[in-house]
Symmetry: C2
Subunit: 405 residues, 2 copies
């Protein structure tokens, strides 16, 4: 949606991959929209709720899949229900935002939060000529990221004219003559639109009420076959948890690939196959202005939290070979465990070569490789694409030395 919003000429409906009626007409799937499930009754295998037009409903099931996704967190503070205070999760949210920007000729926006959605949206809004300020209560910019790399991201955002305000606690949003005022403890920001991007939460209320086991952050707990604590109920997508391939423990990292993959696995398993998903590595990437920002595995703090004895390095290399024109700086961070020697995670920031490079350490995490093993891998080299020692190998070599100290 951010990339669609960035281009006022594009229709938000371009993003629809398959309309509800296509399921019905081409695949014979009985899709019922406008049915809000309120309760899951696992004792008699039914779901019940209310429709928009046809009153209440009760449906029996043989197997049930809960794929309710996640919902944006909206702070319970005054003014968050005002027009122009918007979140971005459903297609309707995107439609509403595009309409609001056009109808109110929005010139100034405040983004609450600095996560993936906030980052992509700050670029998107700037692309349409809208002024953007970003606000968050904590004083650390991108807390999961090595702060040398985070500083590079911050500089890129500020260099593109976005003002970043850390340590600002929002108290309320007020309606003014000209639009909105975001009132913080010490200061206030005028704007015409507020994007609330402070985080998301799994939509697991009905599952919880039905007594299904919950995992991290109240996501629905599932095994490797996506089965919940009830033998006839599956959960998949942003509402469900997953095993982390590095820690071996449950985690909640709601991202597109896992959601999609889990859906397919449930289809297999409902039909009698036994498809097990090994888990997630927390691999993610986003683009913000000219930068590619990528991560996989554990940050230093996460590694410490899960009982590892982590060492960390950050290296700074050129994105192309010695003397090759057009090079830019590529930053690579890498974390390893001094006890086991294992590679635990990596982060990268650069103008080129970060987004796809991150997949190599991601694969290494799935294989539980040591840093030494990863440092021995035969990676590709040509002058337009990097130095003869790929930056990831240079980082691994440095990390090996660091881990021996």
């Amino acid at each position: 949606m951010p990339y669609n919003i960035a281009d006022p000429g594009r229709d938000i409906n371009d993003l629809i991959v398959r309309a509800a009626k296509v399921f019905k007409e081409k695949q014979g799937i009985d899709v019922r929209t406008g049915y809000s499930v309120e309760s899951i009754h696992i004792s008699n295998k039914t779901v019940s709720g209310a429709t928009l037009e046809r009153g209440r409903f009760h449906f029996p099931y043989d197997k049930l899949l809960i794929a309710t996704g996640a919902a944006p967190i909206i702070p319970e503070l005054p003014g968050f229900d005002l027009p122009g205070v918007l979140a971005l999760k459903l297609l309707e949210d995107g439609r509403k935002m595009k309409q609001f920007i056009q109808e109110h000729k929005v010139g100034k926006t405040v983004i609450l939060g600095m996560g993936y959605i906030a980052m992509e949206m700050c670029e998107a809004l700037k692309a349409t000529g809208i002024d953007v300020k970003m606000i968050k209560p904590r004083t650390t910019f991108i807390p999961w990221m090595n702060q040398d790399l985070a500083a590079v991201v911050k500089q890129e955002i500020e260099g593109n004219g976005v003002r970043v305000h850390l340590g600002q606690n929002v108290r309320r949003i007020e309606k003014t003559d000209k639009g909105l005022k975001v009132v913080c403890t010490d200061t206030a920001f005028d704007c015409e639109m507020v994007l609330v991007a402070v985080g998301i939460r799994p939509r697991s209320e009905a599952a919880e009420a039905a007594g299904l086991a919950l995992g991290p952050e109240k996501s629905i707990s599932v095994d490797k076959t996506l089965l919940t604590s009830n033998d006839d109920v599956y959960a998949a997508g942003d509402c469900a948890d997953a095993y982390h391939v590095v820690t071996g423990q449950k985690t909640w990292i709601p991202l597109a690939l896992r959601a999609n993959r889990a859906g397919w696995a449930v289809a297999d398993n409902v039909m009698g196959a036994r498809t097990e998903l090994q888990g997630v590595a927390g691999t993610a990437v986003y683009k913000v202005f000219g930068l590619q920002v990528a991560r996989t595995g554990l940050s230093m703090r996460e590694a410490e939290k899960f009982g590892f004895e982590p060492s960390e390095v950050v290296i700074q290399t050129r994105s192309r070979a010695h003397a090759h024109p057009g090079a830019s700086t590529l930053y690579v961070q890498m974390v390893g465990d001094r006890k086991s020697g294992r590679l635990l995670g990596a982060q990268m920031v650069g103008r080129e070569g970060a987004a796809h490079r991150i997949n190599a350490p991601a694969v290494a995490l799935h294989a539980a490789m040591t840093v030494e093993e990863f440092s021995q891998t035969d990676l590709a080299y040509a002058p337009p694409f990097g130095p003869s020692w790929d930056p990831m190998l240079t980082a691994a070599n440095q990390l090996l030395k660091e881990m021996k100290l």
Copy 2:
């Protein structure tokens, strides 16, 4: 060198990372240039040969490293010693070529061969406005590559005005009034310069004469510590062989990373450490005009040759997500072994996203992953960088189905 040659304004000396005198002055290393070693006497641990200015020499050694690299193969046919018939291996070759192009105002070139160097040079020469024809005797364009992908590369080269002549056996090169004539069995090509890029061979003559064991294609056989068949003689770089991590057998794949890595390992081992190199996966990438061409592991034919029962898929996807502007086509080939389930290799061709993506299957080959394990990896997704299922995962999923047939 191709990228330097592409820019007549750049000095070839820009490519010198460290001059001989720097070794001497800053590191206390006694570098002797102009000393040509003719014989290695392993019985009394000496090397002997001739210098340019100081007569013959005999040097004793405690430990010897042979790092003689590779030499271009020059066909033993008439006219290959004519001025303007050039190879490209040493820095002096590049210097000579830049000079020749400038002094003779070269307008037309013939490249013999279609390997990595030929590909990079056809782009480089076209960049300086020189007409390029490529000639090879075999009728298959890039034999190691899946021919669907090879066709994409051929189209790119021809689309940029390079004429590709397959199945042309060169008989001789003749001097003409205007320059050179490359005479083939049925036809002939006029030009002012010929680049001989038909392959390289390890410079192992002295090692062979000394009785050291040789490996594939007469490369010098070394163990994982880079030791030759003699306990006091190491070999590293393009003259030495390596273990292939997929086949477990010896191979000769002379590429920069392995050469550099082997040099460092020898330094460790001579100094009393024990550094073992695990081996190579044959990972390589090059750019040719707008295309990135990448490979790792085994081709179908190599897989068959080494006793695997390979299956292969080729998929064609977009380089960016659904509805994301600026996307181009990305081709991914993947090979798996029906017997063991193992991933054996991958090839990729595309305008973006091939060069760094190839590192992920390369790591998987080092970890001896199955196709099923690779298909489960958590790879990065954001709309500017690919679809939510990375093309490599789509290829792996298709390959899994193919392997079960």
